[in-house]
Symmetry: C3
Amino acid sequence: MERKKLSIVCFSGDFDKALAAFTLATGAAAVNWEVKMFFTFWGLNILKKKTGRSWIGSGILARVFNFLMGGKRTLPLSRLNFGGVSPVLMTGMMKKSNVATLDELIDAAKALNIDFVACEMAMHILGIKKDDLDDHVQSVAGVATFLETSKDGHILFI
Amino acid sequence: MERKKLSIVCFSGDFDKALAAFTLATGAAAVNWEVKMFFTFWGLNILKKKTGRSWIGSGILARVFNFLMGGKRTLPLSRLNFGGVSPVLMTGMMKKSNVATLDELIDAAKALNIDFVACEMAMHILGIKKDDLDDHVQSVAGVATFLETSKDGHILFI
Amino acid sequence: MERKKLSIVCFSGDFDKALAAFTLATGAAAVNWEVKMFFTFWGLNILKKKTGRSWIGSGILARVFNFLMGGKRTLPLSRLNFGGVSPVLMTGMMKKSNVATLDELIDAAKALNIDFVACEMAMHILGIKKDDLDDHVQSVAGVATFLETSKDGHILFI
C-alpha cells in the first residue's frame, strides 16, 4: 500500500492556526503519513529561534517588520486576542484538558520526523537567515520545489 | 466511475468563510460528490444549538470563551464587520439576489446528506458537549480519523 | 507523464494572501502544471479594473460594499496593515530584494496562461459585472463547475 502524503503550507502566524497546522501534521504522521510543512511569511514566526520580539533581518524595514511580527511566544489569536492574553489562557485550558500545547505539538512534529521547509522568497524579503530559524529546518526551498515534492499527496494552505 | 470526495476542515467561524465552506460543500454534493465537513475551533460556533452568545462549556474560562465566540447568529465578517451589522446586510443582499443564505445552505447540506463531524479535541478544550451541537452532527472524531476517512478525496482547509 | 493540475480558490482579498496565491500559481505554472484560479468574494477585488475604491455594483448596499472592499491598490495586509502603509512598504522591500511584486506576479500569471475564473454567485451578490473585471478573466462560473473542472488536480483554498 502506498504511503499517504500531506504537505501543509504554513502561511499563517496566528496562534490558533499554528495549533491547527501542527495538530493536522502530527495526527497524519501518527497514522504513518509522510508529512512536510512549508513555512512562509507569517508562518516563519513560529520557527524563529528568538521566540519573542527581536530585531532580526537586514535593513531598517525588515527589522521593524520582524520585530512587529514577533516569534512563537507572541503569536496572536486570529480573533479575541486581547493583546496576547488569550493565547496564554488557551494554553492553560489545553494543559488542564491534557491536550498537547503548541510547544508540545512542535516537539512531537520533530520527533515524528516531519520535514520542516522554509520558504526561500519570504526569508529573502524579510531578511531572515536559516540560522535565525529552528535547527529542525532541514531545507530552504522555493515554492516550485515544494509543489514538485508534494505533487503526489494532499496539499493544505493554512 | 469512482465517486469524487471532498472533505472540508471548517476551522473558521467567520460569516463569509462559513458561506464559502457551505457553498463549496453543497455545490460538490449537488454534482454527486461525497462530502464531509469537519468542524473545529471557531467552526464549531456555526453548529451550536444556541445561535447567540451563551455560557456553555465547563469551567469559567471555557464559558467566557464560548460566550465571546458566540454562535451562528453572531458570526462576524472577516473584515468590515461593523459590530455585526455587515452579516445582516449581506444576508439581505443575498435574499434580494435570490441566493441561498447561510441558514438555507446549512439546511441544504443536511438535505444532501453531507456528513458533519465535530472535532473531539476542540470540543474537549472548549468544554462543548455533543448535545450542545446541531443534531445533524453524526460523529465526534479526532483529526487522524478524519484524515484517514478523507484520504482518497480532496481536502480543503477553510 | 500526466500533467499536474492546481486550482486555487482565491477567496481572500488580503495583500499577503494574494501574493501567496499568485506565487503558488506562477510557481506551479513555471514547472508546467496546469493552473486555474477561481476568484470569489474578497478575491474579486484583486481583479477589478478600478484598482482603487470605486462605487461599482447596482443597489446602494452593493455600491457601499464595493467601495469599502476596494481594489488591487487598496488590498490590506491581513495583520499590521497600518492603514495601508504596510503593503506599500512591503512592495518596496520586494523590489529591493528583486522579488516579483504583486503586479508582476499577476502579469506573469497572464503570460503563463493561467486561467482566471470569476465566481458567478459572488458577482451576483455584489453586483459586479464581467466588464468590471480584468480582461484576462475568461469565464464566469459557479462553484460546481469549478470543482468538476478541478477534480483531477490539487485544490487550495486561500
